[in-house]
Symmetry: C2
Subunit: 286 residues, 2 copies
């Protein structure tokens, strides 16, 4: 997805939020916003929003010296999600269609996104999953693709959310590689967050090599690009990965909550809608 | 009121909104946002937000050549408000306390603000006035001050809203000077808008000489500054005038709807609250 003009005010909102978490020094925060201001003229609209956002989060890191401003928030959300994990797992296992229930929980959990929102409510995930209605729901294709896939590449999004990704991975019944960001960006899941969420018990955890808030293929390691290109089924979580991958010719299923209006418009849905959208996956079916 | 860091993302939101109204050329809009980006480093936080916003609206004017992007919106809101005027007037005149009813209508009408909001609902004014609850309501002081004032300086805010200001002016029972912006900025009321709203029938209309979206005393003509300094009672409408005048030692009553969170925080109220707040007015009472 390209960068829309509406993304530009949002970059400043994100910069301010992240800078405030990294430092309480108002003058330093102002300097960060000054830096972001000078960046605007260099933002090409054909670039995806997470590519630009990377420059912003780099600025915050450089100005404040804080590598991972959201570390505490990520720990807290992961801890709370782990507390909910047993009842969420019961909800999945006791449902008529456990795979479907797990898809719902994993998608609803994409609300744990501190890039799009100022606050998240981990507690709401289970309740929201019970009443979840999707605006796009390619579940049939998802199930069919899964049946024939020998393994699944699962692109993580936010810490905390990953605990609920684990639930879905448990229901896939295939070997799964869980992909994390190379370095901290917003509250996106990095290697240590994934281990804290227990993903190592159900999947191989690998970094894509890319530190943007959406997976940018050109910024990944050659080894990971090879895995991406050869994957038979990719599950992509969240807005950031949708933004960077929606134009790629890959067998992807996008699972996300369309929290931002620009992304909702791009998808042709309403803000807040839940999405399970198959990409050109079928071209890869055997 | 100083510029808060939260105002900076909002400047971009406003710039984008106004630029889109002025032109459909996405490249030109991007250039405007680029210009605003380079401005950020020159924004002093001790300056009031409308002073900075002036630079932004100047940029839009210069880049697009459009002097008054909101002209059509202002005409439409004024026309609609004039259609509601007879029933609003009946509501005031038939109420137990017409001055109070007129204060309510004039304050609720401050929602017709295209700087703070993307869309306004002129039709809602009358309904909202019936149920209006104020978070700050210095009405007793307002009435007392009015009784002793020989005349009133009334600082207008938005076009459309001004029709409802006219209702309040009719209830003041004193000679009133209605103050407009020197030039078009957002949907703020300028001379022609005030005449279209019929303000010339109930007040003398004067320009302050200042073209910012809040009255900046230093940017006014010397003649107007003299009127401001000698006024016994000033009624100030809206957020912009509050932002530029809240620290001034003047006998002001601020009437506004706190649409923006920063202003609500500055006032110690909730976003969306209605305000009738006396300033240090009493120091000037005879």
């Amino acid at each position: 997805m390209k960068t829309y003009l509406d993304c530009i005010p949002c970059f400043f909102r994100q910069a301010l939020q992240a800078a405030r978490i990294a430092t309480g020094d108002e003058r330093l925060i102002k300097q960060i916003l000054d830096d972001v201001g000078t960046l605007v003229k260099d933002i090409p609209l054909h670039q995806t929003p997470p590519e630009t956002a990377t420059l912003i989060y780099d600025t915050i890191r450089r100005r404040t010296g804080v590598e991972d401003p959201y570390a505490a928030a990520k720990r807290q959300d992961t801890r709370r999600a782990l507390e909910l994990y047993p009842s969420a797992r019961r909800f999945v296992e006791e449902s008529d269609e456990p795979l479907l229930a797990a898809v719902k929980i994993a998608t609803v959990a994409n609300a744990i996104d501190l890039g799009a929102l100022e606050q998240v409510d981990v507690d709401a995930v289970l309740q929201d999953a019970r009443t979840a209605e999707f605006a796009v729901f390619d579940f049939g294709a998802f199930r069919t693709c899964l049946e024939t896939a020998d393994q699944v590449l699962y692109l993580g999004d936010n810490a905390g959310e990953s605990v609920f990704d684990r639930l879905l991975i448990e229901q896939l019944g295939k070997p799964v590689t869980f992909v994390v960001r190379e370095r901290a960006v917003i509250n996106d899941v990095i290697f240590d967050d994934a281990v804290a969420a227990g993903l190592d018990r159900v999947a191989e955890i690998v970094s894509s090599g890319c530190g943007a808030s959406g997976l940018v293929p050109a910024a990944c390691t050659p080894a990971f690009r090879e895995r991406l290109a050869s994957a038979r089924m990719i599950i992509s979580k969240g807005q950031g990965n949708y933004e960077t991958l929606s134009s790629e010719q890959l067998p992807i299923f996008f699972l996300l909550k369309a929290k931002c209006r620009v992304i909702a418009d791009d998808l042709g849905v309403k803000q807040g809608d839940l999405i399970l959208k198959g990409s050109v996956w079928n071209t890869r079916l055997p």
